[in-house]
């Protein structure tokens, strides 16, 4: 069994020092890897990324993250990624990484993702260049995610996103903003790539559990949804349901 700890949307700022780390103290006893589903920082400032890195410094697990929209706000995303990598956090964007866990290999493919909407209420790349650019950004990220998943040759594959790949996990959010919270294109990539699990954040008022159209479990791990510092998902076991 591989135990995956996950959270997203912690929105660390200069005023956040010491808020998260106490809740991660015994995480090594509970999980084998930590995945972070974006919005690590409040506005994507390098100082905020340093605070985030120091909050995770005591976590003795492989750490993998994607950025979220907040992490792009100040146009310092490249520096943010470098700071995180210096803090031993692997940051994925259209790429994958492999983690060796308890004799099994876990593949993680990640992308921030983007919006566009879901069945019957989607943006279409038609008309003005601005709407085409919006849709094509999501299309490109979805293609990269699918490619990264397909390239993995591991026992299990997890898709790590910030934006949602299905609308199940958006329940609780206003319907009108669904197109800004995720895209079916990301779900299609998750399905085609053969993922065992997809994790995302971004939708703070959403719901934890859902699935893609192809039946892949999707979990919204935004901290306001979880109501706790992180959740643990076990994959690769005998499949007996056991929740606490």
């Amino acid at each position: 069994v591989i135990r995956i700890a996950a959270f997203g949307d912690v929105h660390v700022g200069a005023d956040s020092t010491g808020q998260l780390s106490p809740h991660l103290e015994d995480i090594e006893d509970r999980a084998d890897v930590l995945l972070v589903a974006g919005d690590l920082t409040k506005r994507g400032f390098p100082e905020e990324a340093k605070v985030f890195g120091s909050e995770l410094a005591g976590v003795g697990l492989p750490k993998v993250a994607v950025l979220g929209n907040h992490d792009f706000e100040s146009d310092n995303d490249a520096e943010v990624v470098k700071i995180l990598e210096d803090c031993d956090i692997t940051v994925l964007e259209g790429e994958s990484t492999v983690v060796d866990v308890a004799g099994q290999r876990l593949g993680v493919a990640g992308t921030k993702g983007f919006g566009g909407g879901f069945g019957g209420a989607c943006a279409t790349a038609f008309g003005e260049p601005e709407i085409k650019a919006f849709v094509r950004h999501t299309e490109g990220l979805a293609r990269q995610l699918e490619h990264a998943l397909c390239e993995l040759d591991t026992h299990h594959k997890v898709a790590l996103l910030h934006f949602a790949p299905c609308d199940d996990t958006l329940r609780g959010e206003r319907l009108e903003i669904f197109p800004f919270l995720g895209s079916y294109l990301l779900g299609e990539a998750v399905d085609r790539g053969g993922a065992s699990l997809a994790l995302h954040g971004h939708a703070h008022a959403g719901t934890e559990k859902g699935a893609t159209a192809g039946g892949v479990p999707v979990r919204n791990v935004a901290q306001p949804v979880l109501g706790r510092a992180y959740a643990v998902y076990c994959i690769g076991g005998d499949g007996d349901a056991d929740e606490s």
Binding site: V1, R3, A5, V10, H11, V12, G13, D15, S16, Q19, H23, I27, R30, A31, K42, R43, H70, E73, S196, L197, H204, A205, P217, R219, Q223, P224, L226, G227, R228, A229, Y230, A231, V232, Y233, C234, I235, G237, G239, D240, A241, D242, E243, S244
Partner: protein
């Protein structure tokens, strides 16, 4: 700053925009409404500093309204949840 002649619906939208874009808050998911001349703001924020800033920013945008800052600082409860997937 919003004009006192502006319809309340627009004031609500300007406050929502400010709470997202102003670096003191940067929260996109807060609910804002006006009832009986009182601007109600609800939802979770990450820190006490950001909760205080919510009232500050809203007061700057809509000085003609009383601000009811009903946001709360997100607290972590209990241990991590554990789910075994098939």
């Amino acid at each position: 700053m919003a004009s006192s002649l502006e319809p309340e619906e627009y004031v609500v939208l300007h406050v929502r925009e400010a709470l997202a874009q102003d670096g003191r808050v940067s929260e996109l998911g807060l609910e804002v409404s006006v009832r009986g001349g009182v601007l109600h703001i609800t939802g979770p924020v990450s820190t006490e500093e950001r909760r205080a800033a919510v009232a500050e920013v809203a007061g700057e945008i809509a000085p003609e309204l009383t601000v009811a800052n009903e946001t709360h600082v997100m607290r972590y409860s209990g241990d991590a949840s554990v789910e075994v997937l098939p």
